[in-house]
Subunit: 347 residues, 2 copies
């Protein structure tokens, strides 16, 4: 049987014996220790030697073995991130922001999707821990079913939760102030003359969802807005469509439909359009997250803007701090949201 290098030779026509630090050391006429020091810049090396080593490494096309280095240093310079979905533009944007923030700290991102499945999420967490990532950023799939796995992972290495969090444990968390967000939404709707509002959300399985429902209820009551119904499904366009179907079937629409995320709201808008219900004339609709497509819907969607860049920066800051000093006290940062008013609630 051929060696991998020989096989690769046959395939590409280029011989690629995996070059090691030993090869570089031999060619440069120094020890492997010196090569390591020269290339990592960890310890000073005399200029001529540095030159030699650099040349040798370049000549051989040496690119190091991160695995060996990680084993020796007990550090992978990699952070794992677990999100419920990478198809949801909110999480996509969050992931991009986190990756950007990590880069500045010299860290790489290892991305996993839990598909909103706590069992798969637990598996991802075990895998990340086994892979020896230095820390984890997670938006848990579920408020209670995710708790054990998240707590276990947090016991193994630094972990920060973003957007959502699980109950019953203390760890760093960064997200948005959901109560303040719903206050913004309901005060805006009250200003538009809404006297009744329905909330369309996901089944109450995670922190954000619960806080958003609670915020909705509180502020509606405070502003004297009636709440004929609260519909719970999941965070998807399809659920928005179905919920709207139910409202239409039930007969009279409320003055406003408040959605727990933009995907739901997009489904609501689409179904309204199909049914000949004119937004905002017949009903006001709001979303949550401010994903890019919320500006493109028919009509464009009034929604709560989440400062994901800030969330990401803060999450990475907390993680870096925990990497340096695991003894730190867990922090909880609720950032201030803002309201983006578009045509779905105004003319």
């Amino acid at each position: 049987m051929m060696s991998p290098a020989a096989q690769r030779w046959a395939r590409t026509g280029v011989a690629v014996a995996r070059v090691t630090i030993r090869d570089v050391a031999d060619l440069a006429g120094v020890s492997t220790a010196t090569v390591s020091r020269a290339l990592s810049g960890a310890k000073p090396v005399s200029p001529p030697v540095l030159e030699q080593v650099t040349r040798a490494a370049a000549d051989l096309g040496y690119s190091g073995n991160g695995i060996a280095s990680a084993l020796r240093r007990s550090r992978t310079d990699t952070v794992g991130m677990v999100v419920p979905s990478i198809a949801n533009p909110f999480f996509t944007a969050l992931v991009e922001s986190v990756e950007h923030a990590l880069q500045a700290a010299g860290l790489q991102l290892f991305l996993c999707s839990s598909r909103s499945d706590p069992a798969l999420e637990a598996q991802r967490l075990r895998s990340l821990v086994a892979r020896q990532v230095d820390g984890i950023v997670i938006s848990p799939a579920h408020g209670t079913a995710s708790a054990d796995a998240v707590a276990w992972a947090a016991g193994q290495l630094p972990l920060v939760q973003v957007d959502r969090y699980v109950g019953g444990m203390s760890s760093d968390w960064v997200g948005v102030d959901d109560d303040a967000a719903l206050r913004l939404v309901l005060e805006h709707l009250a200003g538009r003359g809404a006297r009744s509002a329905v909330f369309v959300s996901s089944t109450m399985t995670n922190s954000s969802t619960e806080l958003r429902v609670a915020g909705f209820t509180t502020h509606a009551a405070r502003l004297g807005i009636a709440v004929p119904d609260v519909l719970l499904g999941d965070y998807s366009i399809d659920w928005g469509r179905e919920a709207t179907g139910r409202l239409l079937a039930a007969g009279d629409l409320p003055d406003a439909v408040v959605c727990a995320d933009d995907l739901i709201a997009l489904g609501v808008l689409q179904t309204c359009a199909e049914a000949g219900v004119v937004v905002p004339r017949d009903v006001l609709v709001t979303g949550f997250d401010d994903i890019p497509y919320s500006a493109l819907s028919n009509p464009p969607l009034t929604t709560v803007h989440q400062p994901q860049d800030q969330i990401a920066v803060e999450a990475v800051r907390l993680l870096s701090a925990a990497l340096e000093d695991p003894t730190g006290i867990p922090a909880r940062h609720a950032l201030t949201p803002s309201l983006v008013v578009r045509a779905s609630t105004s003319r």
Copy 2:
């Protein structure tokens, strides 16, 4: 200074000395080799010993050290994927499909975004190679500027290109038949009575883009459709808006605006709506990719559906084959696209 374990103790109240295979072996009263065999299932182990080891591992909360294992086996069971953008829903969907397909093969995905920047892309590739991923799936940022880095990476390990590819090298590729796609689009438009069409695309920097422009030109000519203009910018909503602005400013609109991707088309639709241009009455508009939001626009968008699931499955199949036998001959698979007709080209 405290050890990391001691620090974690202070932080979480739980002592977590990283438990190794040695600890498990000692507790189970067997050798580390036996533990390895028992836990990996690579070699048969007697039932009582298996039981012992499993218990010991569970008791200690052993989760293995993937880094050490990878170093020893020269295998990480990880595949790197590099895409131009994770904000573009087409790539998001592709990533999800690839991740899904990899899971079935027992492989993990390490995702990187090149942000359409060849320099960043090269850095990602170097990083993936240094991290010893077993293979790479890439959609290159640029047709020529990405070439060196991609060819280099392909010389180091199995690599398959998806969607786009770089010129001047042979490697596995899986994508869609762009010429056939444009044929579908133009024949559909001709059937709707279009006698002129403008193509709005990205500056011709990668294979898909070039093939789509070429396909557009060829089939338009064949069908007797006039081509007053071809506008090149980038794959974004904003460019769709700007291009439409130019068309409107120039005066008379063509019968149809064909877009090289859905994001561009969404921008076109949005700007048309703002300008009071009614689609499809005043102009027909088509997209490419069939991202989820193309069904939600105003009006819903006629577009080319990309079979990303198939692309992903095929890409993983090729990669797995190359993992097993690097001597295989590079394959190029152009899958057949389909047209999804919606209101932007019909009543």
